[in-house]
Amino acid sequence: MVEDLLRAAAETEQAHFSLVSIDVNTIVFTLINTLIIVLIYFFFLHKPVCKILDKRAETVNKDMDEAEKAKNEANAVKAEYEQRLAESKEEANRIVADATRKAQQREEEIIAEANSEATKLKQRAEESIEREKKRAINEIKGEISEMVVMAAGKVAEKEITAQDNEKIIDSVLAQIGEES
């Protein structure tokens, strides 16, 4: 029994197609197998990979668009900041110029004030000097006249009338006035 089966198996294994032959069964099965392989290739590999490639292309395009947009935005912001910077520089310059102008004005005012004050002080000082001078002269005048009277009385050792007295004093004073 087993021997029969083995022999049968051996016999079936011995059955070969001829080397160059066309067999309809093989053709049909090959067509089916090829179709299956095409489907497997398409659905397992081709489609997912194409999908991912398309998605990647889309992502890259999107990223590039976004980068472009970001660049434009950055440029706009930069321009704005540059403008602002220029404006603040101008402002700063204006403030400094203003301050300088004000300071100069103030300086001139202060100098003018100081000058007028000095002039006033000088004037007052001169006035007081003049006054003191006059007072001193008057004092000196009084003392000298007394001394002169005393000296004259001593020299003349005689009574002089009031009239003579005055004449002498006046002449002495005139003399002193000329000298001083």
Binding site: T12, E13, A15, H16, F17, S18, L19, V20, S21, I22, D23, V24, N25, T26, I27, V28, F29, T30, L31, N33, T34, I36, I37, V38, I40, Y41, F42, F44, L45, H46, K47, P48, V49, C50, K51, I52, L53, K55, R56, T59
Partner: protein, 242 residues
């Protein structure tokens, strides 16, 4: 040498085995060795395609994805370059056929009978080429263009045109089949001959060099040629006039 010649009669090359045979409604279905090996190839390809094609990311990081993308873009580029952008729907067939053909031929390396050394297998692919060619001709030219194509440039060219239409797929079929078969026959002969010399020790190393050409190189080049010819025939069938 005389011994070798004497024993040479022992070397025979047989066609594929009739692996399974049964009757199906009066039709005797014979599944040949080629089909069984094809199933093995299909299983391998299914697993490889599945592993390559799953879990893909937009930002590719894995070598697996790189390989998958390289493979797909390679076939896409091949179809685009040979046939043009409008034929890119043929990419799936060409890609699958290329992989199927290469791996089938390489099965010879595992000691299995390469399905591509079976004329019936390649004939099936040749029939596909023929059908695709005629279909494309019909699609681009319509009924009028389809029949007009046979009597161009002159009506008496009709027989030659018909022969030409049939000869294209037949020639590419025979080329592929015969190259792989011849490769395996030569390989078998070399093994047989070297096995007779020095008690078979000579068969170490030397066949590897021949195998490199007849199995590896030939497998790739024949698959490539078959696919390129298929693409060329299909795209050339386009009726440009009308």
């Amino acid at each position: 040498m005389t011994d070798l010649l004497k024993t040479a009669a022992e070397f025979t090359v047989e066609g594929p085995l009739e692996s399974i045979s049964f009757n199906l409604g009066g039709w005797r279905v014979v599944i040949s060795e080629s089909i069984v090996v094809q199933w093995i190839v299909m299983l391998i390809l299914a697993v490889v395609f599945f592993i390559l094609g799953r879990n893909l990311k937009v930002k590719a990081t894995s070598r697996r994805q790189m390989a998958a993308e390289y493979l797909v873009t390679f076939f896409r580029g091949m179809v685009k370059d040979t046939m043009g952008v409008k034929y890119n729907k043929y990419t799936a067939y060409i890609g699958a056929l290329f992989c199927f053909s290469i791996l089938s031929s390489l099965m010879g390396l595992l000691g299995l009978r390469a399905p591509t050394s079976d004329l019936s297998v390649i004939a099936a692919w040749g029939i596909v080429t023929f059908v695709l060619t005629q279909r494309n001709k019909f699609k681009t030219g319509g009924v009028k263009g389809f029949f007009k194509g046979f009597i161009e440039p002159l009506p008496f060219m009709l027989p030659f045109n018909i022969i030409g239409e049939i000869a294209n797929p037949v020639s590419q079929t025979l080329r592929h089949f015969a190259n792989i078969l011849a490769g395996s026959v030569i390989g078998g002969l070399v093994y047989f001959a070297l096995g007779q010399i020095a008690n078979g020790l000579a068969s170490i190393g030397i066949p590897a060099i021949l195998s490199l050409y007849f199995d590896l190189f030939s497998s790739f080049i024949q698959a490539y040629i078959f696919c390129t010819l298929t693409m060329a025939y299909v795209s050339m069938a386009e009726c440009s006039d009308d």
